[in-house]
């Protein structure tokens, strides 16, 4: 459990929470680009840590309010006050800087800036060559002052055309040894990656962090567990994983956002609506597995549990 010790709403639509242990003791250090998972009534969401990485006493996250999401960000924006306690899982690293890179090119859109802040902090500490391209809506540029204090090599954009022009020039002229890190909404990541690939970037130099807001709640669907014969309905806004847990089933899980691959469940039959980022196209085509945390079904689903 962690306590909310500060709330900052200075940027419209973005709430920054500072969390600390109730006894204000030191917290586990984390790798730049790490995130924590904050649990809420209807589930859990991952948020990048933007504060100090080494022996911190506070964890800082910034949360964009998603009005059509599952409710996690709404609860953080409207339900939380200083002094409240929240259940937080320890930091996890899935977007770390590649230490042998000659240059680190950070490319962020909107709230996708959050993992880049700890990258910038660590780049400054260790004297790494870093460059940031940050596109955001006018007046919605979170962390602008902090970024300016951390690096002289940040470019801010509020219009797409000039951002893309600069991005193309930089991707085409990055010295060999550069690694790129991309975070933002899904379509933004897809566009940047496609551009980089087109300019000859190999996959090993492109690192992405998917934080593209929350998924749509989806339609309800019926599930049968073929081994036990149990049948139940997964409601809109509830994941299959949550529904299985509510039935008392234990399914290994970790990220709960379709990234880590832990909660893969075998599917006997049904039309799966894959929404994860883990299964390959071939695995999706096989139709015999799904990620219970994010993927859903159209109609009746038979799960081999």
């Amino acid at each position: 459990m962690m306590e909310v010790v500060d709330i900052d709403d200075a940027v419209t639509g973005i709430r920054t929470l500072t969390l600390a242990r109730p006894d204000r003791g030191p917290l586990p250090s984390f790798t730049p680009g790490s995130h924590i998972v904050i649990e809420h009534g209807g589930g859990a969401n991952a948020y990048s840590l933007t504060g100090e990485t080494a022996a911190p006493r506070e964890y800082v996250v910034s949360v964009l309010e998603c009005l059509d999401g599952r409710g996690g960000s709404r609860w953080i924006h409207r339900g939380l006050s200083v002094g409240d306690t929240v259940r937080v899982r320890e930091p996890r690293s899935a977007f770390a800087p590649v230490l042998r890179a000659r240059r680190h090119l950070l490319i962020a859109a909107g709230i996708g800036i959050t993992p880049m802040v700890s990258h910038l902090r660590s780049a400054r500490r260790w004297g790494r060559d870093v460059q940031l391209l940050y596109i955001h809506r006018e007046g919605r540029g979170a962390y602008a002052d902090e970024i300016k204090a951390l690096t002289d090599h940040a470019r801010f954009f509020t219009d797409r055309a000039s951002f893309v022009a600069e991005l193309v020039a930089i991707l085409a002229g990055s010295p060999f040894g550069t690694h790129a890190y991309v975070c933002g909404p899904g379509p933004f990541i897809d566009d940047v990656v496609a551009l980089a690939i087109d300019l000859g970037w190999p996959p090993s130099r492109i690192h992405v962090e998917h934080f593209g807001g929350e998924l749509a709640p989806g339609e309800p669907f019926e599930v049968e567990l073929v081994r036990s014969g149990e049948t139940f309905v997964v409601d809109s806004g509830v994941s299959l994983l949550e529904a299985l847990e509510a039935q008392g089933k234990t399914v290994p899980s970790m990220c709960r956002q379709g990234v880590c691959g832990e909660c893969r469940v075998p599917v006997r039959s049904g039309v799966v609506l894959h929404r994860d980022l883990y299964l390959s196209q071939a695995e999706r085509d096989a139709g015999d597995a799904m990620m219970a945390c994010v993927s859903r079904a159209a109609g009746r689903l038979e799960v081999d549990l």
């Binding site: 085409a172 060999f176 550069t178 000859g200 970037w201 090993s204």
Partner: protein, 180 residues
């Protein structure tokens, strides 16, 4: 018992001659042909044709050199001003390609930026785990040979150092030496 080689550090092109197509996903290329016969140069010419057919404006830098040392010098020079999008296409005897690959990795290249065609795989460079001497010889994996440095009878293990580009050799009877 030998493990399946795909689970080891031995690349497939170091056990059988392979000639893949040029990697056309890049935008800049260095093509290195190593060896005194025409085999590697012919592969380099084929790759050059594939690249220019794919991108008529591409200007691959093609080097035909005698040995791994000269190849590494050409590689160093090309990489000095390279940008991301650069690819290395390497043709020659596997043991020299392993050396040049090691240099490319040291300079920051990734496996998905290096393509290798091997023209010969019988020769191996064996690093002695005991005296660190490198012995070059025609020897099979799991074969044995005397170390040119300490004379130890070396077992050629199915491991290649990515950093050095050499196979690992250790005394076939090492367990006797310490106890006698």
């Amino acid at each position: 018992m030998s493990p399946p080689l795909e689970l080891t550090s031995i690349p497939p092109w170091a056990v059988a001659p392979l000639c893949p197509d040029a990697d056309l996903t890049g935008r800049h290329w260095t093509v290195l042909a190593i060896g005194d016969d025409d085999a590697a140069a012919a592969i380099a010419a084929e790759w050059n044709d594939q690249i220019t057919a794919h991108r008529p404006d591409a200007r691959p830098r093609v080097h035909v050199v005698d040995d791994a040392g000269a190849a590494c010098e050409a590689l160093d020079a090309d990489l000095a001003d390279a940008v991301v999008g650069w690819r290395l296409l390497l043709a020659g005897p596997a043991h020299t390609c392993l050396r040049v690959r090691a240099r490319a990795l040291e300079l920051g290249a990734g496996d998905d930026e290096i393509t290798v065609a091997s023209t010969e795989v019988a020769t191996r460079e064996i690093l002695c785990a005991h005296c660190r001497t490198i012995t070059t010889a025609r020897v099979e994996l799991t074969g044995t040979l005397p170390c040119a440095g300490c004379g130890c009878k070396l077992f050629v293990y199915y491991h290649v150092s990515r950093r050095l580009g050499t196979h690992l050799g250790f005394a076939a009877a090492a367990h006797h030496r310490g106890t006698q």
